[in-house]
């Protein structure tokens, strides 16, 4: 059977959907419930995700510009120091005005070093918030910044404009929370 592509623009105001109100019978519902169990088994949500989200909401500045995660080698699954990581992992964020890259290097003491680069990030103030502490540092003229010892766990980076930073960046740019 051929299904025609939708032309879009449908809305609730277009009237009831045929079959929408047709109740699923008990067998249907049981089957769908089984399907939910299977999806939860083969493609589970990372258990830590709600904690990371709550961490992000904890001190959310509603006026800040939101950056999005565009590329990440960090994994929520199996995170939390269950496995030693030998190499640096990188993560990239992007917002309307800024692109930020972070390289995460494990330190021997269990903390991580973050090498960051923001563009156009010259002279921005970088702030990293973790569960334990908030650290901040100034970006150099090229937008590079380093945090030598950051505790692992949920972390969120904010880049604040300063008098010497790019005037296009008027409000802080906040990245999503990630699990280091």
């Amino acid at each position: 059977m051929k299904i025609q592509p939708g032309s879009g623009g449908f809305g609730p105001e277009d009237g009831p959907v045929p079959g929408e109100d047709q109740p699923l019978d008990r067998d249907d519902l049981a089957l769908l419930a089984d399907l939910v169990d299977v999806y939860n088994a083969v493609d589970p949500m990372p258990e830590i995700l709600p904690d990371v989200i709550l961490f992000a909401l904890e001190a959310h500045d509603v006026d800040a510009e939101l950056a999005r995660l565009v590329d990440s080698e960090l994994e929520l699954v199996g995170a939390g120091g269950t496995r030693a990581v030998e190499h640096a992992r990188s993560v990239t964020f992007s917002s309307d005005h800024l692109t930020v890259m972070l390289a995460v290097h494990p330190n021997v003491d269990g903390t991580v070093r973050l090498d960051g680069w923001a563009a156009p990030g010259g002279n921005l103030r970088a702030e990293i918030r973790t569960g334990e502490t908030t650290l901040d540092t100034l970006c150099d003229a090229d937008g590079r910044f380093v945090f030598d010892e950051v505790p692992t766990g949920a972390a969120q980076l904010t880049l604040h404009p300063t008098e010497d930073s790019d005037p296009e960046i008027r409000v802080p740019v906040v990245t999503p929370a990630v699990h280091l």
């Binding site: 449908f10 079959g19 699923l24 519902l29 089984d34 909401l57 500045d61 939101l66």
Partner: protein, 222 residues
């Protein structure tokens, strides 16, 4: 600049208040269909938690995030997002809720608001991503064949079900997954996602379920 802080617990009675406010209204008794009850339950519990959050009840946002995140995660995955993209999109969706949630008139609509916001976000991401622009989700984007790792966590019965699901068309698989997870799917958004007329979702759902059931039954008889 306004900072929204999750309210810290009040010295007296905070805990009881949280539990009372987030507590669910009595379950409607007498329903024999487990799934629908669960689905309705999620909407009602999330609505109660959202209302409590708006009233400044400590811990209410925790309840809401923990309740709805799994639904949003699976919805994002069914939109064709990678696990990393799904994580980010679910987080963004809750940030949107904190920023714009005051526009939700009826707290009971919060689950729908969240799933619609997530879908729009997923769509925008897909259309902005040059490498994936205008692509249908590929086979790789969707969880499919049970790997050795997956097989270990599935019971025999689940493995059979999963195998039959994977023999269905991609449209059927996605439709069933969405219906299974979304208690009240947004039919217009779903139609756009699946590139099918909104009017054919109901009948297609019926056909996909019938096909799946007949395969399962055929196996039982063979």
């Amino acid at each position: 600049m306004i900072n929204i802080d999750v309210p810290s617990p009040q010295p007296a009675g905070g805990k009881e208040q949280t539990e009372a406010a987030v507590n669910i209204p009595e379950q409607r008794a007498g329903s024999s269909d487990r799934r629908r009850q669960d689905a309705g339950d999620l909407v009602v519990r999330a609505g109660a938690a959202f209302e409590a959050y708006r009233n400044g009840v400590p811990g209410a946002i925790d309840t809401l995030v923990r309740l709805v995140s799994p639904l949003l995660w699976h919805t994002a995955r069914q939109c064709g997002l990678s696990p990393t993209e799904a994580e980010d999109t679910v987080q963004q969706t809750f940030l949107m809720l904190v920023r714009r949630g005051e526009s939700i008139a009826d707290p009971l609509a919060v689950v729908r608001w969240l799933t619609v916001t997530l879908r729009r976000q997923a769509w925008r991401d897909r259309s902005q991503s040059a490498s994936r622009a205008a692509e249908e989700p590929t086979e790789q984007d969707l969880p499919r064949a049970p790997s050795a790792e997956h097989a270990a966590v599935l019971t025999d019965e689940q493995r059979r079900l999963w195998a039959h699901v994977n023999e269905l068309s991609e449209r059927c698989r996605r439709l069933l997954a969405v219906i299974a997870f979304a208690p009240r799917p947004d039919y217009a958004a779903l139609a756009a996602d699946l590139q099918m007329p909104v009017g054919s979702i109901g009948p297609t759902r019926g056909r996909c379920l019938a096909k799946l059931r007949s395969r399962l039954e055929a196996e039982e008889w063979s």
